[in-house]
């Protein structure tokens, strides 16, 4: 007697659903809302000061200002992320978390090399476009490791901002303020409100 095929199909669908749900729920989701908002606030401050720094010290001074901002952002996240992970019962060294952080490594390395190359060429105006695009690519690449649906959306927004910065290079600091500042504040507050912390 042949087994009715819908039963078999239903069983396969159920198994697929279980696998997909487990993968989605098991993904890294300890993105710190308040920490991300704080990173955005510090970026807004630097973006406000950057044009003046550039007028006085030129490109290298401007790069130093944003370099300091990068350090501040890393420090904030280094404090906020483990706290959030503890609160949500996640492990910052888990597989999904490692995959998410790894997704940042290659774009970060490319950003560093591009920054050096553009600085040597004196093309400072193109640096914001490169940073924003690559940061967006890193967020999109980390998509699979996250459950926070807002993060991939943020990644695509950064890629779009990067394109805008390449097309209107004289507005570089404004695009950086909107991206690293505004987007982070907005997304951070959204995460804090929706998911806590």
């Amino acid at each position: 007697m042949p087994l009715p095929s819908p039963l078999d199909r239903h069983a396969r669908e159920d198994l697929r659903y279980i696998r997909e749900t487990m993968a989605r729920a098991g993904a890294f989701s300890a993105v710190p809302g308040w920490g991300t908002a704080l990173v955005g606030a510090s970026a807004l401050l630097v973006a406000a000061l950057a044009p003046a720094v550039r007028a006085r010290s030129g490109g290298p001074g401007w790069l130093l200002a944003w370099g300091v901002e990068l350090l501040v952002a890393v420090l904030i996240i280094a404090v906020a992320l483990p706290r959030k992970a503890r609160a949500t019962g996640e492990d910052v060294l888990s597989g999904p978390a490692r995959r998410f952080f790894t997704s940042f490594l290659v774009p970060a390395a490319v950003a560093a090399v591009l920054t050096i190359a553009l600085a040597r060429a004196g093309a400072w105006e193109l640096v914001p476009g490169a940073w924003l695009s690559l940061y967006g690519c890193a967020l999109v690449a980390g998509w699979g490791g996250l459950t926070r649906e807002v993060v991939p959306g943020m990644g695509l927004s950064f890629v779009a901002l990067g394109a805008a910065a390449f097309l209107t290079p004289t507005w570089g600091d404004a695009w950086l303020a909107l991206g690293f500042g505004g987007f982070h504040v907005f997304i951070g507050l959204l995460i804090a409100r929706r998911y806590g912390g």
Partner: protein, 122 residues
């Protein structure tokens, strides 16, 4: 004219498999057979615990749906629910119980049995 005994044996073997599959289908745990409840149990099986909002996001469902089905699982003893506060914000956390984990394992075994039986008769 009768059929060769080997063919009859083969048919009997297929019948046994189909009977096993039918039994597996009727023995299914109705509590977690429902799609959203199966999702809740599966999601909780992959983590120590999940907040209400995280579960809602993982399962792409509404507050009302999740509440109803989570309560059904709680009543069955498959899920443990803890209500507390994070600062001033209420926070509900769910955890899979040992009975819930066993129920999921049994359900998975049932599904695999069904697939195996279908493979045997095809």
């Amino acid at each position: 004219m009768g059929r060769p005994s080997r063919a009859r044996k083969h048919d009997a073997h297929d019948d046994d498999r189909a009977t096993d599959a039918a039994r597996a289908a009727t023995d299914l745990d109705r509590v977690i057979h429902e799609r959203l409840r199966l999702g809740i149990v599966s999601a909780l099986a992959s983590r120590d615990s999940l907040s209400f909002n995280d579960l809602k996001a993982a399962l792409k469902t509404t507050d009302g749906n999740l509440s109803v089905h989570a309560r059904r699982l709680e009543e069955a003893g498959y899920v443990d629910c803890q209500k507390g506060f994070e600062g001033r914000i209420p926070r509900t956390t769910y955890r899979l119980t040992a009975a819930g984990r066993r129920a999921l394992e049994r359900y998975l075994a049932h599904m695999e049995a069904l697939i195996e039986a279908a493979r045997g008769t095809s």
